[in-house]
């Protein structure tokens, strides 16, 4: 019997697999396809204080083994997420990680304080790394001092453990990770998308209305893996790793690099059943590799 469970602050996961924020809405679409209780956790779409309409279309563009998106944090706002999306998710036996976004520190604090009161929200993921909004988002995630102070402010009001979602669009991701550790973060989720763009060769115009977008998908996995490896080596925070995960061996890689759990993002768009498929294959793959538990695999690349 392979032990699939993982314990990290706020989260007793039955397995280490969860859909990544922004790739799973608030779960309703995927609930038509399978029982969400199979999932280790769910990272719901970023929530802001007010309703956000997001960016104009086109919002997505395909690239080599990846895609760009500039959705722009479209969400129904705190009141609706708290009042209807989260209660709807209570029918499933699955912990929710609520992604919190905003344009000012006060926004983050307000969403964090309120949303962390929901009974099924077991942890927060603070989105200081959205590349697609003009204010807030990534501006909190590129300066270590700013990231530390925001972490402190959110930590003070949250009723559940706080994970900070890091951006790869920085010179030194370890300095940001250390700063949020100092600020009292309970964990890190990484990585958000890499800034990129695509042009139309006929017209020379950007394909995405927002001009640039966030790159995700298999193309970014090596970047994500290297960053998880560095941050896990140089901080003591548990990491939920993500970036280009499409199959069970990608999960093995992220765990080996030091992630305690793994989120699946863009792959949900290609194969909506990817999360339950990985979950069902993981025990056998661990057995083949000679491991009895997920925990044993975490960070093994540092021990070899």
């Amino acid at each position: 019997m392979i032990d699939m469970t993982v314990k990290i602050p706020g989260l007793e996961l039955k397995n280490p697999i969860m859909p990544a924020s922004g790739c799973f809405g608030f779960g309703k679409e995927y609930a038509q396809l399978y029982d969400l209780s199979q999932l280790g956790a769910i990272m719901i779409k970023a929530t802001t204080v007010e309703t956000r309409l997001g960016n104009p279309t086109p919002r997505v563009a395909e690239t080599s083994s990846g895609m760009l998106n500039a959705i722009g944090l479209q969400n129904p706002g705190l009141e609706k997420v708290y009042g209807s999306e989260l209660p709807w998710l209570e029918q499933f036996d699955v912990p929710i990680i609520a992604n919190v976004a905003g344009t000012t520190t006060e926004d983050y604090v307000e969403v964090a304080r309120e949303i962390s009161k929901a009974p099924n929200v077991h942890a927060l993921e603070i989105n200081i790394s959205c590349p697609n909004v003009k204010k807030g988002g990534i501006t909190f995630g590129t300066d270590p001092a700013v990231a530390r102070e925001l972490t402190r402010a959110v930590k003070e009001v949250s009723s559940v453990p706080v994970y900070i979602k890091l951006s790869p669009n920085v010179t030194d991701i370890v300095s940001i990770a250390k700063a949020v550790e100092e600020g009292g973060a309970d964990g890190i989720t990484m990585i958000n998308t890499l800034l990129g763009m695509r042009l139309d060769p006929k017209t020379g115009r950007p394909v995405i209305a927002n001009i640039s977008g966030g790159l995700s998908g298999p193309a970014i996995k090596p970047v994500a893996l290297r960053m998880v490896y560095e941050v896990s080596k140089q901080t003591n925070l548990p990491i939920i790793g993500m970036g280009g995960v499409t199959n069970v061996d990608d999960v093995i890689d992220f765990l080996s690099a030091g992630a305690s759990a793994v989120a699946v993002g863009t792959a949900n768009f290609v194969n909506p059943f990817v999360c339950p498929e990985i979950i069902s294959k993981l025990p056998e793959r661990l057995h083949e590799l000679g491991y009895d538990s997920v925990e044993e695999l975490i960070g093994r690349s540092h021990r070899l």
Binding site: G22, C23, F24, G25, K28, E29, Y30, Q32, L33, K45, T51, L53, G54, T57, P58, R59, V60, A61, E62, T63, S64, S65, G66, M67, N69, I71, Q74, P76, G217, P218, T246, T266, N268, F269, V270, N271, P272, F273
Partner: protein
Amino acid sequence: MIKQERMKVITQQSIAKHIFELTVEGGLVDEMAEPGQFVHVRVADSFEPLLRRPISVASIDKENKRFTMIYRAEGRGTQILADKKAGDEIDVLGPLGHGFPVEQAEKKAFLIGGGIGVPPLYELAKQLNSRGIETVHILGFESKQAIFYEEKFKALGDTHIATVDGSHGTEGFVTHILNELPHDFDTYFSCGPTAMLEAVQWAYPQKKGFLSYEQRMGCGIGACFACVCRTTKSETDYIKVCSDGPVFPAGVVIS
């Protein structure tokens, strides 16, 4: 219910310039109901190209568990799809979205299509005819080489063709034909370029109409928020073409 299935290719053929007709077989067909729904096709087992391709359903054959797609092979993904041969398998997710409400038509319906928006109107015409509704088809294409299914539509009702270059039928757009026809129908259904849908709505402000929209998609099931449109129904929300649509009543979508 939405299913994901590796479906078997039965036939694939080129039926007009860059236009392919692909028939596949599998249990997913049991789930198909409304004309105007679409499927999301993964053209390769690798992640290159990454995303699925939304393709409309041109006809459904429940008895043989087969359905036919008609698509234009112009991009990277659809060109790969065009290489599939009988016996190959393709990964299909569907049926997706909400199609045309056939029960809304009373006696006579206009079916107005442009280019690659024409295919879903064929299954619609079949279903309307089987309900005893008279259908008139007004179809626009780029040129004579791009026309497909003219005879098949003719077998189901009056069919008028427009080509932009005038190489077949009326020269110009479907609106040129609409101007000439009596407004003796109760309901119209339309699928095609956004500009055409706009023109059709303007042409028949008093009539009951249903329009199928197109928008760049990610997931195809409503989770990624890529294919949104503004709507007259709410200033604070969008509608999603993939899951709320692709068919909407006239006057709902702000394009």
